[in-house]
Amino acid sequence: MIVIFGIFLLTLLVITAIAIVRTDNLFVAVMLMGIASLLIAANFFLLDAADVALTEAAVGAGISTVLFLSALALTSERERAKSSNRVLSFIVVAAAALIIIYATFDKPRFGDPEAPVQTHVGPWYLEKTPEYIDIPNVVTAVLGSFRGYDTLGEVFVVFTAGIGVLFLLGGGAAAGSLPQEKINEGLRHHLIPRVVGRVLIPFILLFGLYVQFHGEYGPGGGFQAGAIIAASVILFALLEGEKRALSVVPERALLGLIACGPLLYGAVGVAGIVLGGNFLDYSVLSSDPVKGQQLGILLIEAGVGISVTGVLLAIFHAFAARGR
C-alpha cells in the first residue's frame, strides 16, 4: 500500500517538475516548486524520515517560496525568450539523464536488507544510541553527536550562504535611506489577515521552540525550528510591515544571530578539547558521559537553530530592502 502511495506521489512530482520546466510564468513556477517540495516532504514521510520531511516542508515549501517571491518582486514575472541553442542543451540534459538512469541500475532495491545503508554503520548507531546518548530520536543522535562534524559543516554552509547573499544584495544597508512609508506598511489595512496573524504568530513561535527542544524525543531540531521561527517573523513582517519587524528583530541583532550560531557550535567543540576530550566530543562536558552527550546535543542544536533563523531572516530582509 505504501509503495502505491509512493509511486503516486512520485508521479505527481514528475508531472509538477515537467510543469515547472514548461511554464514561462515565473510566478507559476515558484508556486509549483512549493507544491513539488510538499510532495517530496510527503514522500519522505512515507519513508519514515519524519525529520527530513519536516525540514523539507518548512524550508522547501514555506521559506524558499517566500524568498523566491521576494526575489520575483525585484524582477519581471515572465521568463526571458529562450535562446536559440536548444538542441545543444537538450543533448546535454539527455546525456546526463541517461548517465543517472544507468547509475540507478547499481543501486540496491528499495528496502533491500543487504543494502550498504542497512549493513554499514546504521545498525551500530541504532544499537549504541541508547547506551551512549540515551535519547529516543536516533536521527538527532546521529546528526548531533556521531556525525557532529558534518552538521558543523552544514551550519557553516548556511553561514556562508547567508553572508554571500548579504554581500550580493547589499545587506539592506540602504534600508534607512529610503523612507517610502507606503510600501513599508505590509497588509496593515487588511484587518482579517492581521487579526488572524496576531492570533497565530505566538503559537507558531511556540511550536518552533517545541520543535527545537523536542528534537531529541521526536522529529525536529535546529534546522526545522530555525525555519519555523523565521517563518513566524516573516509573517509578522508581511502583516505589519518591514519596519516594525525590523524594530522587533533589528538588522544588527540578525547579524549577531548569524555569527552566534556557528560560534556556539564551535565553542562546544573547543570546550570538548579544553576539558580533555576530542573536538566535538560531548562526553566530557559533564561528569556523566551520557548527560554530557545530551547537553552537547542541546547546545549545538541551539547553535543550528540560531544561525538558521538569523540567515533566513537576514536574506528575507535583504530582498525586501532591495525592493524598496
Binding site: 482579517i192 489577515p193 488572524v196 496573524g197 492570533v199 497565530l200 503559537f203
Partner: protein
C-alpha cells in the same frame, strides 16, 4: 461500540474524501478564479473537518487527538484567511468576476 465508532469514522472519512474530490473537480471546471476558489473552499472546510474528525475517531482519546484538534483549529483559522488574501489580491490586480465580464459582453452586443 468499537464497531460503531469504526463505521462512523469510515463514513466520515469517505464523505471527507468525496468533499475533497468535489472541490478538486470544481477547481478544474469553474470558469474564473473566484468561482474556483469557492469550489476549492469545500476542500478546506468540509473536506478537512470530515477527514480530521474521522481520523480523531480512529485515534481515540490520546495525544494524537489533541494534535489533530490543534491542526483542525489551525486549518479553520488559516484557510479562510488565505482565501481572503488571495481573493483581495486578485481584485486589487484587476481580475473581475466572470459574471460581470459576461454581462459586459452581452451589453456590447
Amino acid at each position: 461500540m468499537t464497531a460503531l465508532i469504526d463505521t462512523l469514522s469510515w463514513v466520515l472519512l469517505t464523505l471527507g474524501g468525496l468533499a475533497v474530490l468535489i472541490g478538486g473537480i470544481g477547481a478544474l471546471r469553474m470558469p474564473d478564479l473566484y468561482t474556483r476558489m469557492h469550489a476549492a473552499s469545500v476542500t478546506d472546510s468540509m473536506g478537512a473537518i470530515l477527514v480530521l474528525v474521522g481520523i480523531m475517531l480512529q485515534a481515540g482519546w490520546s495525544l494524537a487527538t489533541i494534535k489533530l484538534i490543534a491542526i483542525l483549529l489551525f486549518l479553520l483559522l488559516t484557510s479562510p484567511t488565505s482565501s481572503y488574501a488571495l481573493a483581495s489580491a486578485a481584485l486589487l490586480a484587476g481580475k473581475r468576476p466572470f459574471a460581470e465580464t459576461q454581462q459586459d459582453e452581452e451589453e456590447m452586443k
